[in-house]
Structure formats: C-alpha cells, structure tokens
C-alpha cells in the first residue's frame, strides 16, 4: 500500500494536477460560500470543460469541488445563519450564536481545522477499505450487481429528506429516462420518436445542468431575500487551548460517524452533519448549552460532513456505484472519459485511484490554507448581488450543454429538465433519486436481463446467491418500511426538522 500511495503522490504532484486540485478546492469553497449553487451544480457546469483535460485531472478537480464545498458551507452558516450547503445546516445553530457573541473567528477556525482533520481521517479510511472491498466486488456477477443497485436506490429513497414514496417515484422516473435511446442489448430504438439524436439517449450533462443548475436558479428567483452578513470583527481564527479541549472529542467522533454515513447509500454530508450534532448534544454533560454558541456544536457537525465526503468515494471507486447525487456526477465525469469506476479501477487505472487519494491529502491542506486567511475575501463574495450571479450560471449552463454535441436538442432538454427540476421541488419530489436512477438504470437493466438469461428465466437466481439475496432482502425491508403507513408517517414527522 505504501508504494501505491507514493505512486499516487507522484501522479497528484505534477504541476498540472496540482493546478487542477487548487482550482477544484477554490471553486468548491466558493460554491460552498455562495448559497444558491451547490457542488452538484458547479460540477455539472464544469463537466463540459473536463473534455479538454485528462481523466485524472478531471476527477481531481471535481473531487476538490465536492469536499471543498463542505469547507465553504460553514462560512455562510456562521456569518449569515444561512447554510451555504445543505450539509452545513446544523452548523448554523451554534455557529451563528458564536458569531453574535463576537466569537466568529474561533467558530470559523475550528470549522476549518475540524474539517481538515476529518478529511484526513476519511482519506486514510478510504485508502484502507477501498482495496479489500474492490477485491470482494470482483466476485460479483449480474445478479449481485442488480440487487446491490436496487438496494442502493431503495436506501436512497428511504433516507430522502422528503416523502419516501415520492422519492421512489422520482427514482422510477429516472430509470425510465435512462432507457431512452437504443437498447444496449438488441439495438432497438426506444422513445426516440424518430429523432436520430436521441438514439444515444438523453445526455447526462443536460439532465444534471437542468435539474441542478437551472432549477436552482428558478427557485432562487422566487424570493426577494437579501443576505445580511453579520457585522463583527473576525479575529482569533486560531482556536485557543480551551477551544481545542472542547472540540477534540467532537471532531474525532464526528469524523468516524461521518465516514461511516458517507459509505451508505443516500448518506453523505447532510445526514452526517445532522447526526453528529444530535450525538454531541446527547452525550454532552451540558446539553442545554447547545443552541447558545457551543463550540462542540460546530466542530462535530463540520468534521462529520467532511468525513462523509471522503467515505462516499468508497462505493464509487470500489463498486462503481455512486451513493449520492453529487458523487454520481463524479461517476458521470469518469464515464464521459471512458473510464469505468468499479472493482477493476484500482488494477486497470491505479493512476486515477491512487492519484485521487493523494490529491485529497493535498487538497485538504490547500483548503486549510485557503479558508483561514481568505475569510475576508469570502465575506466579500457573499455580498455579490444575485442579479449578477444567476445570469452567469444560466450562461454557463447554456454554453456547457451546447458544447458537448453542438446540438440545440441538448439545450432544449436542459431547459426542460430545469423546469422539471423546479416543479419537482415545488411539489416536494427529491431530485437526487432521479439522477442516481438515471445513471444506474442502464447498468441495472443489463444486469437484470443478463441474470435472467443466465438462469433461463428463473427469478430464483436473485435469492439463490447469498450476496444478491442479502441485498434484495434489505431492499424489500426498506420498501416495506417505506410503504407501511404508520412507520411512514412517523418517519416523515421525524424528517421535518426546522432550524431556528
């Protein structure tokens, strides 16, 4: 392993890849600071640009955006009480209170240091776990892959922030959209309506740009909100000894919890941020102090969301299955470059795998350096009026979608998905399951049909094999839990959390 990680550093420390890493973490922090565009939207905007760079560089840059946004999100949470990213929601609670008490500096400082430590821990975890998991996954056949994907999608819908039933419908819609075009097995045209351009299917870039970029802009245009940055001197960014004493435990606990939550489907930063806060409050000797400016309420959640970002890479790189929408874009980026993430990635493209791991170490250091001294700059960025930001986002989306195939159809699809994404959010449908199902739909269909061909039409193939049966059992259990009215109502009630 040590030779592999050293090889990774030789890949990641080329001037070109260092530059991509820097661009990625800088953009990620910027995106994290700015409410209204998330890492998924930023990654979607950069997907077309990635055609011009190498797969390693693309992945390094986009990964940097992903975990960089977790750093940036805490800045707006603490200074404005608006989470820059959903994964920083709980940081608002105590972070903003600390800022009101004149302790914005220590809050921002401990968020940055906690994120750095958690990011480093999660990269070590990724390094240790990914290889054995990939080796185990080599034993998977079509039935295992089908059931694993089914379980993943079911878990994503179960953990959806909104209605689980609507999340299931969203996933089913995503699957149907993924099957537009030529059948991968027999070449028959499906839902192309005679349009030759649709034979290749619906492009992932127009879909994600529409769902994440355009729809987000339309949602923001509804409101008249103004961002009022707290007027306080931001000093003492380096936490004191007392701050460290109070924060070390939460950071370590948040890192472990976040890492584990990042691995599971639908997990990721949002749930990690929330669960870490709940955990710290529960085990604290003075839970009544949470909500009044308790530093553990910042350190734990911020560590958790960064660790979750690292954990999410494990199923992507080892199994080739993205477990949340943002990581799905990394999956899409690799597919665009003809690289298939999965169990064979480590063997066939060790430069990508170990290069990414090494770049995550480097990226975490860059983020620590960027976030603390440049706090003043990020505060100024927050004040850029949205009437200037949103036209730029729209323009990027339009150019990005057009540039792929020079096709007006892609632009029309993007606008259509933008309106669809907007309507989905208005009607309380989660868009993440749609994207995940869209990306996994073709793999799922091929796996299902191959399984049935192998078993000569017998569905027992999914039960006879232990891994497939286990995944199927979990999926069935989650589906049952989703659909049982009593449990669904209680889960939906628990899912309604208001940040005051």
């Amino acid at each position: 392993m040590w030779t592999d990680i050293l090889y990774g550093f030789t890949v990641a420390t080329t001037p070109e890849n260092l530059a991509y890493c820097f661009i990625g973490v800088l953009l990620g922090t910027l995106v994290g600071v700015l409410p209204g565009i998330g890492p998924a939207g930023a990654m979607a905007l950069l997907l077309p640009v990635s055609f011009k760079i190498t797969p390693v560089g693309t992945f390094i840059m986009l990964s940097g955006i992903y975990y960089g946004s977790m750093y940036g999100g805490s800045t707006t949470s603490i200074l404005v009480s608006i989470p820059g990213e959903p994964a920083s929601v709980m940081t608002c609670v105590d972070g903003y209170q600390m800022a009101l008490k004149g302790r914005a500096g220590p809050a921002l400082g401990i968020a940055a240091f906690g994120s750095f430590i958690a990011g480093t821990i999660s990269v070590v975890g990724l390094m240790v776990l990914a290889t054995p998991l990939a080796k185990a996954a080599l034993k998977f056949g079509p039935p295992e892959f089908f059931c694993l994907v089914l379980m993943g999608l079911t878990l994503v819908t179960y953990l959806s922030q909104k209605s689980a039933e609507k999340a299931l419908m969203s996933a089913l819609l995503g699957m149907l959209l993924s099957w537009v075009g030529l059948d991968l097995i027999n070449g028959q045209s499906r839902f192309t309506f005679g349009n030759m351009e649709l034979n290749d299917g619906i492009g992932v870039i127009p879909l994600v740009m529409g769902l994440f970029g355009i729809s987000e802009v339309l949602l923001e245009l509804e409101k008249d909100e103004r961002i009022d940055v707290i007027k306080t001197k931001i000093a003492n960014l380096l936490p004191s000894r007392d701050d460290w004493r109070q924060s070390t435990g939460p950071i370590v606990r948040g890192s472990v919890l976040g890492f584990l939550l990042g691995i599971i489907p639908g997990g990721g930063g949002i749930i990690a941020n929330f669960m870490a806060y709940v955990m710290e409050k529960r085990i604290s000797r003075h839970p009544e102090t949470f909500g009044t400016g308790e530093i553990a309420g910042v350190a734990g959640p911020e560590a958790a969301n960064n660790a979750a970002a690292g954990g999410a890479f494990i199923p992507l790189l080892s199994l080739g299955i993205p477990m949340n929408a943002t990581v799905a874009l990394l999956f899409a980026a690799l597919l665009i470059h003809g690289v298939r993430p999965g169990p064979l990635l480590i063997e066939e493209r060790g430069d990508i795998f170990w290069g990414i791991i090494a770049s995550m170490y480097i990226g975490n250091v860059m983020l620590l350096v960027l976030n603390l001294p440049l706090i003043g700059l990020w505060v100024k960025v927050l004040k850029v009026p949205y009437r200037i930001v949103f036209p730029m986002i729209l323009l990027f989306c339009l150019i990005g979608s057009y540039a792929i195939n020079l096709s007006v159809l892609d632009l029309e699809l993007m606008l259509g998905f933008g309106v669809l994404g907007y309507l989905m959010r208005k009607f309380d449908f989660d868009t993440a399951p749609l994207v995940l199902a869209f990306l996994l739909g073709p793999m799922m269909e091929v796996a299902m049909r191959q399984s049935l061909l192998l078993s000569q039409g017998s569905f027992t193939v999914f039960i006879a094999r232990p891994i497939a049966a286990t995944c199927l059992g979990i999926a069935a259990l989650l589906l049952g839990l989703n659909l049982l009215p009593v449990i669904r109502q209680r889960r939906d009630r628990l899912a309604t959390v208001e940040v005051k």
Binding site: M169, L172, L398, L452
Partner: protein
C-alpha cells in the same frame, strides 16, 4: 370550475401527470418487444418500472382526493411567477435563435434582459455589462477553449 381548481392541490396534479405518463409509457412498452423472463425484450424493464410508477401515482391520486381543504391550500412567501416565466421564455428564445442569429448577439440580448429581471434600472451600465460579459465569454469559450459556437448573422467567427 374555478373553485374546483382552487380546491385541488399539488398532490392531485403531480400524481395525475405521473399516472398519465406511466399509462403512456406502458402503452409504448407494449409496442416494443416485451419478451419473456427467459429472454427479456426491450420493453421488459420499462413496462415493470412504468407499472410501479403508475401504481404509486394512482395511490397518491386517490389519496389526494380525500385530503382536507386546508392541507391543499398553499402557504408561505409570495412567489414571483412573472420573473420565472420571463426567464424561462428568455432562455427558450435564446435556444431557438442561437444558431440562426449567432452566439455573440444572442448572449448579449439574453444577458441584457437577465440583468434587468431582479432589479430593473441602470440600463446603460447593465447593457454595457452585458456587452462586456458576452465578449469575455466569446474570448474564453470560442478562442481559448476552442468551442465551436454558432456564427449566425454577424459572422465574426
């Protein structure tokens, strides 16, 4: 009719649309080859997924008919529908005119319009801003990144 429309809610319309969509997809899937479990065809998974979607949508549709009226009513901050519709139409016009008119002109007009959407005013400054941004976008994307953007009327490319 107006009262009935007002009394129906988001659940009603979303589930109805999804139900109709699933029926249409199932119909289309039967035109494709469904195959058999021994040899699944192109429509096999599609019909299954569409049927599942249809069942969920039907359940929601029926449930929406029995929702109390106060649950159906919308609440919250006022929504600037006019802005949203204007932006969608502007982007649609951009898309339709991009190839015949050209990237530079279309981008200029689009940005000049969008800069006015949130807070109308300062026409001169914002129009100059739109011109500057269009030019910079052209330099970055067409020249530096060498993307083939449409020439259109001006023929500057």
């Amino acid at each position: 009719m107006k009262a009935w429309l007002k009394s129906t809610g988001a659940e009603f319309w979303s589930s109805l649309v999804l139900l109709l969509l699933s029926v249409a997809v199932i119909n289309e899937a039967f035109n494709l080859e469904l195959g058999t479990p021994r040899n699944p065809g192109s429509g096999f998974m599609i019909s299954g997924a569409a049927a599942a979607l249809g069942l969920f949508a039907l359940r929601q549709f029926i449930a929406s008919l029995f929702l109390p009226a106060h649950v159906k009513a919308s609440s919250g901050d006022p929504i600037h529908w006019g802005r949203i519709v204007c932006v969608i139409l502007a982007v649609l016009a951009y898309i339709l005119l991009l190839e015949p008119v050209g990237f530079l002109l279309c981008t200029f007009f689009l940005l000049a319009f969008l800069f006015q959407v949130l807070e109308p005013g300062h026409w001169v400054v914002r129009t100059m801003g739109a011109a500057f941004t269009s030019a910079v976008a052209y330099v970055i994307f067409a020249k530096a990144l060498r993307l083939s953007l449409p020439r259109g009327l001006i023929g500057l490319f």
